[in-house]
Protein backbone atom coordinates (compact mmCIF):
# COMPACT_ATOMS: atom_id res chain seq x y z
CA UNK A 1 0.00 0.00 0.00
CA UNK A 2 2.71 2.43 1.02
CA UNK A 3 4.23 2.04 -2.44
CA UNK A 4 0.99 2.43 -4.35
CA UNK A 5 0.31 6.02 -3.36
CA UNK A 6 3.62 7.52 -4.57
CA UNK A 7 3.54 5.43 -7.76
CA UNK A 8 -0.02 6.54 -8.53
CA UNK A 9 0.88 10.15 -7.79
CA UNK A 10 3.70 10.01 -10.29
CA UNK A 11 1.51 8.40 -12.94
CA UNK A 12 -1.25 10.97 -12.47
CA UNK A 13 1.29 13.78 -12.69
CA UNK A 14 2.74 12.34 -15.90
CA UNK A 15 -0.70 11.99 -17.48
CA UNK A 16 -1.54 15.59 -16.57
CA UNK A 17 1.71 16.86 -18.05
CA UNK A 18 1.02 14.76 -21.13
CA UNK A 19 -2.46 16.27 -21.60
CA UNK A 20 -1.04 19.77 -21.17
CA UNK A 21 1.72 19.04 -23.68
CA UNK A 22 -0.84 17.71 -26.14
CA UNK A 23 -2.67 21.03 -25.98
CA UNK A 24 0.54 22.97 -26.57
CA UNK A 25 1.86 20.84 -29.39
CA UNK A 26 -1.39 20.38 -31.30
CA UNK A 27 -2.64 23.94 -30.89
CA UNK A 28 -0.93 25.24 -34.03
CA UNK A 29 -2.79 22.83 -36.29
CA UNK A 30 -6.10 23.61 -34.55
CA UNK A 31 -5.58 27.35 -35.02
CA UNK A 32 -4.52 26.91 -38.66
CA UNK A 33 -7.66 24.89 -39.36
CA UNK A 34 -9.77 27.53 -37.65
CA UNK A 35 -8.07 30.32 -39.63
CA UNK A 36 -8.73 28.49 -42.88
CA UNK A 37 -12.38 28.19 -41.94
CA UNK A 38 -12.23 31.88 -41.00
CA UNK A 39 -13.37 31.25 -37.43
CA UNK A 40 -11.64 31.63 -34.13
CA UNK A 41 -11.48 29.13 -31.30
CA UNK A 42 -12.27 29.80 -27.66
CA UNK A 43 -9.97 28.20 -25.13
CA UNK A 44 -12.41 25.37 -24.37
CA UNK A 45 -12.89 24.56 -28.06
CA UNK A 46 -9.14 24.66 -28.60
CA UNK A 47 -8.50 22.16 -25.82
CA UNK A 48 -11.20 19.78 -27.03
CA UNK A 49 -9.83 19.99 -30.56
CA UNK A 50 -6.21 19.36 -29.55
CA UNK A 51 -7.25 16.20 -27.69
CA UNK A 52 -9.23 14.71 -30.56
CA UNK A 53 -7.34 15.36 -33.79
CA UNK A 54 -6.95 12.61 -36.35
CA UNK A 55 -3.23 13.12 -36.81
CA UNK A 56 -2.04 15.02 -33.77
CA UNK A 57 1.62 15.88 -33.32
CA UNK A 58 1.26 14.41 -29.85
CA UNK A 59 -1.80 12.22 -29.31
CA UNK A 60 -3.54 12.56 -25.95
CA UNK A 61 -3.36 9.63 -23.51
CA UNK A 62 -6.93 8.52 -24.13
CA UNK A 63 -6.26 8.44 -27.87
CA UNK A 64 -3.29 6.16 -27.34
CA UNK A 65 -5.35 4.02 -24.99
CA UNK A 66 -8.06 3.81 -27.65
CA UNK A 67 -5.42 2.94 -30.28
CA UNK A 68 -4.04 0.20 -28.05
CA UNK A 69 -7.52 -1.14 -27.39
CA UNK A 70 -8.35 -1.18 -31.10
CA UNK A 71 -5.15 -2.92 -32.10
CA UNK A 72 -4.82 -5.35 -29.20
CA UNK A 73 -8.21 -6.33 -27.85
CA UNK A 74 -10.74 -5.36 -30.48
CA UNK A 75 -9.08 -7.24 -33.32
CA UNK A 76 -8.19 -10.81 -34.22
CA UNK A 77 -4.59 -11.54 -33.10
CA UNK A 78 -3.84 -12.88 -36.59
CA UNK A 79 -4.77 -9.63 -38.33
CA UNK A 80 -2.02 -7.56 -39.92
CA UNK A 81 -3.26 -4.60 -37.91
CA UNK A 82 -3.09 -6.38 -34.58
CA UNK A 83 -0.24 -5.40 -32.26
CA UNK A 84 -0.40 -8.91 -30.84
CA UNK A 85 0.54 -10.20 -34.28
CA UNK A 86 3.38 -7.70 -34.71
CA UNK A 87 4.44 -8.15 -31.10
CA UNK A 88 4.75 -11.88 -31.67
CA UNK A 89 6.91 -11.32 -34.76
CA UNK A 90 9.18 -9.05 -32.74
CA UNK A 91 9.15 -11.35 -29.72
CA UNK A 92 10.17 -14.43 -31.69
CA UNK A 93 13.15 -12.65 -33.26
CA UNK A 94 14.04 -11.16 -29.88
CA UNK A 95 14.06 -14.55 -28.17
CA UNK A 96 16.09 -16.09 -30.98
CA UNK A 97 18.58 -13.21 -30.84
CA UNK A 98 18.69 -13.35 -27.05
CA UNK A 99 19.41 -17.07 -27.21
CA UNK A 100 22.19 -16.66 -29.79
CA UNK A 101 23.65 -13.65 -27.95
CA UNK A 102 23.60 -15.42 -24.60
CA UNK A 103 25.29 -18.54 -25.94
CA UNK A 104 27.89 -16.47 -27.81
CA UNK A 105 28.47 -14.32 -24.73
CA UNK A 106 28.96 -17.30 -22.47
CA UNK A 107 31.27 -18.98 -24.98
CA UNK A 108 33.41 -15.85 -25.30
CA UNK A 109 33.54 -15.44 -21.51
CA UNK A 110 34.67 -19.04 -21.06
CA UNK A 111 37.41 -18.42 -23.61
CA UNK A 112 38.46 -15.17 -21.98
CA UNK A 113 38.68 -16.73 -18.53
CA UNK A 114 40.66 -19.75 -19.69
CA UNK A 115 42.95 -18.27 -22.29
CA UNK A 116 45.26 -15.38 -21.68
CA UNK A 117 45.46 -14.69 -25.40
CA UNK A 118 41.69 -14.38 -25.65
CA UNK A 119 41.62 -12.26 -22.52
CA UNK A 120 43.95 -9.78 -24.19
CA UNK A 121 42.39 -9.87 -27.65
CA UNK A 122 38.63 -10.40 -27.40
CA UNK A 123 37.60 -7.76 -24.89
CA UNK A 124 38.79 -4.74 -26.91
CA UNK A 125 36.87 -6.03 -29.95
CA UNK A 126 33.78 -6.70 -27.90
CA UNK A 127 33.89 -3.15 -26.57
CA UNK A 128 34.59 -1.71 -30.02
CA UNK A 129 31.62 -3.63 -31.43
CA UNK A 130 29.34 -1.77 -29.04
CA UNK A 131 30.63 1.67 -29.99
CA UNK A 132 29.40 1.28 -33.58
CA UNK A 133 25.88 2.72 -33.76
CA UNK A 134 23.51 -0.16 -34.31
CA UNK A 135 21.35 2.07 -36.50
CA UNK A 136 24.25 2.36 -38.94
CA UNK A 137 25.00 -1.30 -39.39
CA UNK A 138 21.54 -2.84 -39.04
CA UNK A 139 20.47 -1.92 -42.60
CA UNK A 140 23.75 -3.22 -44.02
CA UNK A 141 23.35 -6.57 -42.31
CA UNK A 142 19.76 -6.83 -43.49
CA UNK A 143 20.68 -5.96 -47.08
CA UNK A 144 23.70 -8.25 -47.21
CA UNK A 145 21.78 -11.20 -45.76
CA UNK A 146 18.82 -10.50 -48.03
CA UNK A 147 21.07 -10.58 -51.07
CA UNK A 148 22.20 -14.10 -50.21
CA UNK A 149 18.62 -15.17 -49.70
CA UNK A 150 18.35 -14.95 -45.92
CA UNK A 151 15.39 -12.95 -44.74
CA UNK A 152 12.70 -13.05 -42.11
CA UNK A 153 13.61 -13.89 -38.55
CA UNK A 154 17.31 -14.68 -38.82
CA UNK A 155 18.74 -11.28 -39.87
CA UNK A 156 16.78 -9.62 -37.08
CA UNK A 157 17.91 -12.22 -34.59
CA UNK A 158 21.53 -11.60 -35.57
CA UNK A 159 21.24 -7.86 -34.94
CA UNK A 160 19.46 -8.59 -31.70
CA UNK A 161 22.23 -11.00 -30.70
CA UNK A 162 24.81 -8.35 -31.61
CA UNK A 163 23.42 -6.10 -28.91
CA UNK A 164 22.70 -8.74 -26.30
CA UNK A 165 25.95 -10.72 -26.28
CA UNK A 166 27.93 -7.86 -24.79
CA UNK A 167 26.38 -7.59 -21.31
CA UNK A 168 26.56 -11.38 -21.10
CA UNK A 169 30.29 -11.41 -21.86
CA UNK A 170 31.01 -8.72 -19.30
CA UNK A 171 28.85 -10.31 -16.59
CA UNK A 172 30.01 -13.85 -17.25
CA UNK A 173 33.71 -12.95 -17.22
CA UNK A 174 33.18 -11.37 -13.83
CA UNK A 175 31.06 -14.30 -12.65
CA UNK A 176 33.47 -17.00 -13.79
CA UNK A 177 36.21 -15.14 -11.94
CA UNK A 178 34.10 -14.80 -8.81
CA UNK A 179 35.55 -17.80 -6.93
CA UNK A 180 38.18 -16.50 -4.53
CA UNK A 181 41.78 -17.66 -4.16
CA UNK A 182 40.85 -20.00 -1.32
CA UNK A 183 38.19 -21.79 -3.34
CA UNK A 184 40.57 -22.20 -6.27
CA UNK A 185 43.36 -23.43 -3.98
CA UNK A 186 40.96 -25.93 -2.52
CA UNK A 187 40.35 -27.32 -6.01
CA UNK A 188 44.12 -27.52 -6.49
CA UNK A 189 44.55 -29.56 -3.31
CA UNK A 190 42.28 -32.14 -4.95
CA UNK A 191 44.25 -31.91 -8.21
CA UNK A 192 41.07 -30.89 -10.03
CA UNK A 193 41.34 -30.32 -13.79
CA UNK A 194 40.34 -27.01 -15.35
CA UNK A 195 37.13 -28.51 -16.63
CA UNK A 196 36.23 -29.97 -13.23
CA UNK A 197 36.86 -26.57 -11.65
CA UNK A 198 34.73 -24.96 -14.36
CA UNK A 199 31.69 -27.19 -14.04
CA UNK A 200 31.73 -27.60 -10.28
CA UNK A 201 32.90 -24.19 -9.09
CA UNK A 202 33.17 -21.44 -11.69
CA UNK A 203 29.90 -22.00 -13.53
CA UNK A 204 27.66 -22.29 -10.44
CA UNK A 205 29.44 -19.30 -8.85
CA UNK A 206 28.72 -17.18 -11.92
CA UNK A 207 24.92 -17.57 -11.80
CA UNK A 208 24.11 -14.32 -9.95
CA UNK A 209 26.28 -12.40 -12.43
CA UNK A 210 24.79 -14.22 -15.41
CA UNK A 211 21.23 -13.36 -14.42
CA UNK A 212 22.09 -9.72 -13.75
CA UNK A 213 23.43 -9.47 -17.31
CA UNK A 214 20.56 -11.46 -18.81
CA UNK A 215 18.14 -8.79 -17.61
CA UNK A 216 20.13 -6.15 -19.49
CA UNK A 217 20.65 -8.46 -22.46
CA UNK A 218 16.98 -9.26 -23.03
CA UNK A 219 16.06 -5.58 -23.09
CA UNK A 220 18.94 -4.94 -25.48
CA UNK A 221 17.80 -7.85 -27.64
CA UNK A 222 14.36 -6.27 -27.99
CA UNK A 223 15.88 -2.93 -28.97
CA UNK A 224 18.05 -4.71 -31.52
CA UNK A 225 15.07 -6.48 -33.07
CA UNK A 226 13.02 -3.29 -33.30
CA UNK A 227 15.91 -1.45 -34.93
CA UNK A 228 16.29 -4.34 -37.36
CA UNK A 229 12.62 -3.97 -38.31
CA UNK A 230 13.00 -0.29 -39.16
CA UNK A 231 14.77 -0.43 -42.55
CA UNK A 232 12.38 0.19 -45.42
CA UNK A 233 10.67 -2.86 -46.73
CA UNK A 234 9.88 -4.45 -43.40
CA UNK A 235 6.16 -4.85 -42.97
CA UNK A 236 5.96 -7.01 -39.91
CA UNK A 237 6.96 -6.42 -36.30
CA UNK A 238 6.68 -3.56 -33.85
CA UNK A 239 9.56 -1.74 -35.55
CA UNK A 240 7.72 -1.84 -38.88
CA UNK A 241 4.60 -0.47 -37.17
CA UNK A 242 6.68 2.39 -35.77
CA UNK A 243 8.10 3.18 -39.17
CA UNK A 244 4.90 2.91 -41.20
CA UNK A 245 3.17 5.01 -38.57
CA UNK A 246 5.70 7.76 -39.08
CA UNK A 247 5.47 7.46 -42.89
CA UNK A 248 1.76 8.13 -42.85
CA UNK A 249 1.71 10.54 -39.92
CA UNK A 250 -0.21 8.01 -37.85
CA UNK A 251 1.06 9.23 -34.51
CA UNK A 252 -1.48 7.21 -32.56
CA UNK A 253 -0.15 4.10 -34.25
CA UNK A 254 3.44 5.08 -33.37
CA UNK A 255 2.59 5.63 -29.76
CA UNK A 256 0.58 2.43 -29.53
CA UNK A 257 3.53 0.48 -30.93
CA UNK A 258 5.87 2.26 -28.51
CA UNK A 259 3.74 1.32 -25.56
CA UNK A 260 3.46 -2.23 -26.78
CA UNK A 261 7.26 -2.40 -27.08
CA UNK A 262 7.73 -0.95 -23.59
CA UNK A 263 5.24 -3.41 -22.12
CA UNK A 264 6.98 -6.27 -23.90
CA UNK A 265 10.38 -5.16 -22.58
CA UNK A 266 9.06 -4.85 -19.05
CA UNK A 267 7.41 -8.28 -19.24
CA UNK A 268 10.61 -9.91 -20.53
CA UNK A 269 12.75 -8.34 -17.80
CA UNK A 270 10.23 -9.38 -15.15
CA UNK A 271 10.19 -12.96 -16.44
CA UNK A 272 14.00 -13.17 -16.40
CA UNK A 273 13.89 -11.71 -12.88
CA UNK A 274 11.44 -14.36 -11.71
CA UNK A 275 13.56 -17.16 -13.16
CA UNK A 276 16.58 -15.58 -11.48
CA UNK A 277 14.85 -15.58 -8.10
CA UNK A 278 13.80 -19.17 -8.46
CA UNK A 279 17.20 -20.44 -9.58
CA UNK A 280 19.28 -18.49 -7.06
CA UNK A 281 16.98 -19.48 -4.23
CA UNK A 282 17.30 -23.13 -5.15
CA UNK A 283 21.08 -22.71 -5.31
CA UNK A 284 21.17 -21.07 -1.89
CA UNK A 285 22.60 -17.90 -3.46
CA UNK A 286 19.64 -15.51 -3.21
CA UNK A 287 20.71 -12.20 -1.73
Amino acid sequence: MTKVVPVLTVIVALVLIWYAAAVGMNAQWARDQAARAETTLGFGELVVDTWSQDRPVLPAPHQVAQGLYDSVLAIKPTSKRSLVYHGWITLSATLAGFGIGTLAGIALAVGIVHSRAMDMSVMPWAIASQTIPILAIAPMIIVVLNSIGISGLLPKAIISAYLSFFPVVVGMVKGLRAPDAMQLDQMRTWSATNSQTFWRLRLPSSMPYLFASLKVAIAAALVGTIVAELPAGATRGLGARLLSGSYYGQTVQIWSALFAAAALAAALVVIVGLIERGVLKRMGMAQ
Binding site: M182, D185, Q186, R188, T189, S191, P204, M283, G284, M285
Partner: protein
Amino acid sequence: MKTPVINAKGVCLTFETNDGPVQALKDVDLGIERGEFVSFIGPSGCGKTTFLRCIAGLEVPTGGTLTVNGLTPDEARKARSYGYVFQAAGLYPWRTIAGNIKLPLEIMGYSKADQEKRVEKVLGLVELDSFGKKFPWQLSGGMQQRASIARALAFDADILLMDEPFGALDEIVRDHLNEQLLALWARTQKTIGFVTHSIPEAVYLSTKIVVMSPRPGRIAEVIESTLPRERPLDIRESPEFIALAHRVREGLREGHDA
Protein backbone atom coordinates in the same frame (compact mmCIF):
# COMPACT_ATOMS: atom_id res chain seq x y z
CA MET B 1 66.65 -44.70 10.02
CA LYS B 2 63.03 -44.04 9.06
CA THR B 3 62.47 -40.70 7.35
CA PRO B 4 59.70 -38.55 8.81
CA VAL B 5 56.35 -38.27 7.00
CA ILE B 6 57.03 -34.59 6.45
CA ASN B 7 60.68 -33.78 6.13
CA ALA B 8 61.90 -30.19 5.65
CA LYS B 9 65.60 -29.39 5.29
CA GLY B 10 66.69 -25.79 4.96
CA VAL B 11 63.44 -24.74 3.32
CA CYS B 12 63.50 -21.13 2.14
CA LEU B 13 60.86 -19.18 0.30
CA THR B 14 61.18 -15.65 -1.01
CA PHE B 15 58.19 -13.94 -2.64
CA GLU B 16 59.03 -11.49 -5.38
CA THR B 17 56.65 -8.59 -4.84
CA ASN B 18 56.38 -5.14 -6.34
CA ASP B 19 57.98 -3.73 -3.22
CA GLY B 20 60.94 -6.06 -3.60
CA PRO B 21 61.57 -9.56 -2.27
CA VAL B 22 59.81 -10.76 0.90
CA GLN B 23 61.54 -13.60 2.71
CA ALA B 24 58.61 -15.61 4.07
CA LEU B 25 60.61 -18.68 5.16
CA LYS B 26 64.28 -18.98 6.04
CA ASP B 27 66.11 -22.26 6.70
CA VAL B 28 63.21 -24.22 8.06
CA ASP B 29 64.30 -27.66 9.35
CA LEU B 30 61.52 -29.86 10.63
CA GLY B 31 60.62 -33.54 10.76
CA ILE B 32 57.08 -34.66 11.48
CA GLU B 33 56.61 -38.36 12.35
CA ARG B 34 53.62 -40.46 11.44
CA GLY B 35 50.71 -39.91 13.83
CA GLU B 36 52.04 -36.69 15.33
CA PHE B 37 49.88 -33.66 16.00
CA VAL B 38 52.04 -30.64 15.23
CA SER B 39 50.91 -27.07 15.85
CA PHE B 40 52.49 -24.02 14.26
CA ILE B 41 52.19 -20.90 16.33
CA GLY B 42 53.58 -17.40 15.91
CA PRO B 43 52.59 -13.83 15.17
CA SER B 44 50.93 -12.86 11.90
CA GLY B 45 53.24 -12.89 8.93
CA CYS B 46 55.76 -15.36 10.36
CA GLY B 47 55.16 -17.81 7.53
CA LYS B 48 52.86 -20.41 9.13
CA THR B 49 50.45 -20.42 6.22
CA THR B 50 53.28 -20.33 3.73
CA PHE B 51 54.93 -23.39 5.25
CA LEU B 52 51.67 -25.33 5.29
CA ARG B 53 51.08 -24.36 1.66
CA CYS B 54 54.60 -25.57 0.78
CA ILE B 55 53.76 -28.96 2.31
CA ALA B 56 50.59 -29.00 0.23
CA GLY B 57 52.43 -28.08 -2.96
CA LEU B 58 50.48 -24.83 -3.27
CA GLU B 59 53.72 -22.85 -3.01
CA VAL B 60 57.12 -23.97 -4.23
CA PRO B 61 60.09 -23.34 -1.92
CA THR B 62 62.88 -21.33 -3.49
CA GLY B 63 65.49 -23.29 -1.55
CA GLY B 64 66.04 -26.45 0.50
CA THR B 65 64.29 -29.80 0.23
CA LEU B 66 60.85 -30.81 1.36
CA THR B 67 59.36 -34.30 1.11
CA VAL B 68 55.94 -35.62 2.05
CA ASN B 69 55.65 -39.38 2.44
CA GLY B 70 59.02 -39.51 0.69
CA LEU B 71 57.57 -37.75 -2.38
CA THR B 72 57.79 -34.17 -3.59
CA PRO B 73 54.82 -32.11 -2.36
CA ASP B 74 53.42 -32.08 -5.89
CA GLU B 75 53.60 -35.86 -6.24
CA ALA B 76 52.19 -36.23 -2.74
CA ARG B 77 49.20 -34.12 -3.67
CA LYS B 78 48.54 -36.19 -6.75
CA ALA B 79 48.82 -39.31 -4.58
CA ARG B 80 46.07 -37.82 -2.37
CA SER B 81 48.38 -37.79 0.65
CA TYR B 82 46.73 -34.93 2.47
CA GLY B 83 43.46 -33.19 3.14
CA TYR B 84 43.58 -29.42 3.59
CA VAL B 85 41.21 -27.46 5.82
CA PHE B 86 41.10 -23.71 5.30
CA GLN B 87 40.06 -21.06 7.79
CA ALA B 88 36.70 -20.65 6.04
CA ALA B 89 34.65 -23.81 5.60
CA GLY B 90 34.17 -22.94 1.92
CA LEU B 91 31.12 -25.17 1.48
CA TYR B 92 29.18 -24.66 -1.75
CA PRO B 93 25.75 -23.23 -0.97
CA TRP B 94 24.22 -25.09 -3.93
CA ARG B 95 25.27 -28.47 -2.60
CA THR B 96 23.99 -30.32 0.45
CA ILE B 97 26.45 -31.24 3.18
CA ALA B 98 26.70 -34.73 1.69
CA GLY B 99 27.10 -33.18 -1.76
CA ASN B 100 29.93 -31.00 -0.50
CA ILE B 101 31.73 -33.95 1.02
CA LYS B 102 31.31 -35.84 -2.25
CA LEU B 103 32.96 -33.01 -4.19
CA PRO B 104 36.58 -34.22 -3.86
CA LEU B 105 35.40 -37.80 -4.32
CA GLU B 106 33.72 -36.92 -7.62
CA ILE B 107 36.82 -35.08 -8.74
CA MET B 108 39.00 -38.06 -7.85
CA GLY B 109 36.68 -40.45 -9.64
CA TYR B 110 35.36 -42.63 -6.83
CA SER B 111 32.35 -44.79 -7.72
CA LYS B 112 28.89 -43.63 -6.69
CA ALA B 113 28.47 -46.44 -4.19
CA ASP B 114 31.88 -45.80 -2.68
CA GLN B 115 31.06 -42.07 -2.41
CA GLU B 116 27.90 -42.81 -0.41
CA LYS B 117 29.76 -45.14 1.95
CA ARG B 118 32.55 -42.66 2.55
CA VAL B 119 30.20 -39.73 3.13
CA GLU B 120 28.37 -41.72 5.76
CA LYS B 121 31.60 -42.73 7.45
CA VAL B 122 33.13 -39.25 7.68
CA LEU B 123 29.84 -37.64 8.73
CA GLY B 124 29.96 -40.07 11.66
CA LEU B 125 33.56 -39.10 12.42
CA VAL B 126 32.63 -35.43 12.82
CA GLU B 127 29.32 -36.23 14.53
CA LEU B 128 27.09 -34.84 11.80
CA ASP B 129 25.36 -38.16 11.08
CA SER B 130 21.88 -36.84 10.35
CA PHE B 131 22.95 -33.66 8.55
CA GLY B 132 23.90 -35.02 5.13
CA LYS B 133 20.73 -33.73 3.43
CA LYS B 134 20.92 -30.26 4.99
CA PHE B 135 22.29 -27.25 3.15
CA PRO B 136 25.27 -25.29 4.56
CA TRP B 137 23.15 -22.29 5.58
CA GLN B 138 21.12 -24.56 7.83
CA LEU B 139 24.24 -25.30 9.92
CA SER B 140 26.08 -23.20 12.50
CA GLY B 141 29.61 -21.98 11.80
CA GLY B 142 31.13 -24.72 13.95
CA MET B 143 29.11 -27.42 12.22
CA GLN B 144 30.11 -26.04 8.82
CA GLN B 145 33.76 -26.27 9.79
CA ARG B 146 33.21 -29.86 10.96
CA ALA B 147 31.68 -30.60 7.57
CA SER B 148 34.74 -29.15 5.89
CA ILE B 149 36.95 -31.40 8.04
CA ALA B 150 34.80 -34.35 6.99
CA ARG B 151 35.35 -33.35 3.37
CA ALA B 152 39.12 -33.35 3.93
CA LEU B 153 38.94 -36.81 5.51
CA ALA B 154 36.69 -38.36 2.87
CA PHE B 155 39.42 -39.66 0.59
CA ASP B 156 41.56 -41.33 3.23
CA ALA B 157 44.56 -39.03 3.10
CA ASP B 158 46.77 -39.91 6.06
CA ILE B 159 47.87 -36.29 6.58
CA LEU B 160 45.51 -33.51 7.61
CA LEU B 161 46.72 -29.91 7.14
CA MET B 162 44.65 -27.27 8.91
CA ASP B 163 45.21 -23.51 8.63
CA GLU B 164 43.53 -21.78 11.57
CA PRO B 165 40.42 -23.89 11.06
CA PHE B 166 38.71 -22.60 14.19
CA GLY B 167 40.06 -19.03 14.03
CA ALA B 168 36.70 -17.51 13.13
CA LEU B 169 34.71 -19.35 15.78
CA ASP B 170 33.88 -18.29 19.32
CA GLU B 171 35.68 -19.70 22.35
CA ILE B 172 32.98 -22.14 23.47
CA VAL B 173 32.49 -23.69 20.06
CA ARG B 174 36.24 -23.83 19.70
CA ASP B 175 36.72 -25.81 22.93
CA HIS B 176 34.16 -28.30 21.77
CA LEU B 177 35.75 -28.66 18.35
CA ASN B 178 39.20 -29.06 19.88
CA GLU B 179 37.93 -31.93 22.00
CA GLN B 180 36.30 -33.52 18.96
CA LEU B 181 39.42 -33.06 16.88
CA LEU B 182 41.53 -34.89 19.47
CA ALA B 183 39.02 -37.75 19.53
CA LEU B 184 39.06 -37.87 15.75
CA TRP B 185 42.84 -37.87 15.68
CA ALA B 186 42.95 -40.76 18.19
CA ARG B 187 40.47 -42.78 16.11
CA THR B 188 42.01 -42.15 12.71
CA GLN B 189 45.74 -42.05 13.55
CA LYS B 190 46.25 -39.21 11.07
CA THR B 191 49.31 -37.00 11.01
CA ILE B 192 48.09 -33.45 11.62
CA GLY B 193 49.67 -30.08 10.88
CA PHE B 194 47.69 -27.34 12.57
CA VAL B 195 48.21 -23.57 12.37
CA THR B 196 46.87 -21.50 15.23
CA HIS B 197 47.13 -18.15 16.97
CA SER B 198 46.05 -19.50 20.32
CA ILE B 199 48.56 -20.76 22.88
CA PRO B 200 46.03 -22.87 24.86
CA GLU B 201 44.77 -24.43 21.64
CA ALA B 202 48.30 -25.32 20.54
CA VAL B 203 49.22 -26.80 23.92
CA TYR B 204 45.95 -28.69 24.33
CA LEU B 205 46.08 -30.34 20.91
CA SER B 206 49.70 -30.96 20.07
CA THR B 207 52.36 -33.57 20.56
CA LYS B 208 54.79 -31.03 19.16
CA ILE B 209 54.57 -27.24 19.12
CA VAL B 210 56.54 -25.33 16.51
CA VAL B 211 57.07 -21.72 17.60
CA MET B 212 57.80 -19.43 14.67
CA SER B 213 59.06 -15.86 14.48
CA PRO B 214 58.77 -13.26 11.74
CA ARG B 215 61.03 -11.27 9.41
CA PRO B 216 62.30 -13.56 8.09
CA GLY B 217 59.89 -16.38 8.95
CA ARG B 218 61.74 -19.16 10.72
CA ILE B 219 61.41 -21.70 13.49
CA ALA B 220 62.31 -20.19 16.87
CA GLU B 221 61.76 -23.29 18.96
CA VAL B 222 60.28 -26.77 18.76
CA ILE B 223 58.61 -27.89 21.99
CA GLU B 224 57.78 -31.57 22.54
CA SER B 225 54.64 -31.92 24.62
CA THR B 226 54.87 -33.78 27.90
CA LEU B 227 51.12 -34.21 28.15
CA PRO B 228 49.61 -37.69 27.78
CA ARG B 229 47.75 -38.49 24.56
CA GLU B 230 44.51 -38.84 26.48
CA ARG B 231 43.46 -35.24 27.23
CA PRO B 232 40.24 -34.24 28.96
CA LEU B 233 39.40 -30.54 28.66
CA ASP B 234 40.27 -29.87 32.31
CA ILE B 235 43.86 -30.91 31.68
CA ARG B 236 44.22 -27.22 30.86
CA GLU B 237 44.20 -26.43 34.56
CA SER B 238 47.01 -28.88 35.35
CA PRO B 239 50.44 -27.49 36.35
CA GLU B 240 52.02 -29.39 33.45
CA PHE B 241 49.76 -27.67 30.95
CA ILE B 242 50.41 -24.27 32.46
CA ALA B 243 54.15 -24.85 32.41
CA LEU B 244 54.01 -25.80 28.71
CA ALA B 245 51.91 -22.76 27.87
CA HIS B 246 54.47 -20.65 29.69
CA ARG B 247 57.29 -22.12 27.62
CA VAL B 248 55.43 -21.39 24.42
CA ARG B 249 54.81 -17.81 25.51
CA GLU B 250 58.50 -17.39 26.37
CA GLY B 251 59.45 -18.82 22.98
CA LEU B 252 57.14 -16.38 21.23
CA ARG B 253 58.54 -13.44 23.19
CA GLU B 254 62.17 -14.34 22.44
CA GLY B 255 61.37 -14.80 18.78
CA HIS B 256 59.81 -11.38 18.76
CA ASP B 257 62.77 -9.64 20.38
CA ALA B 258 65.26 -11.23 18.04
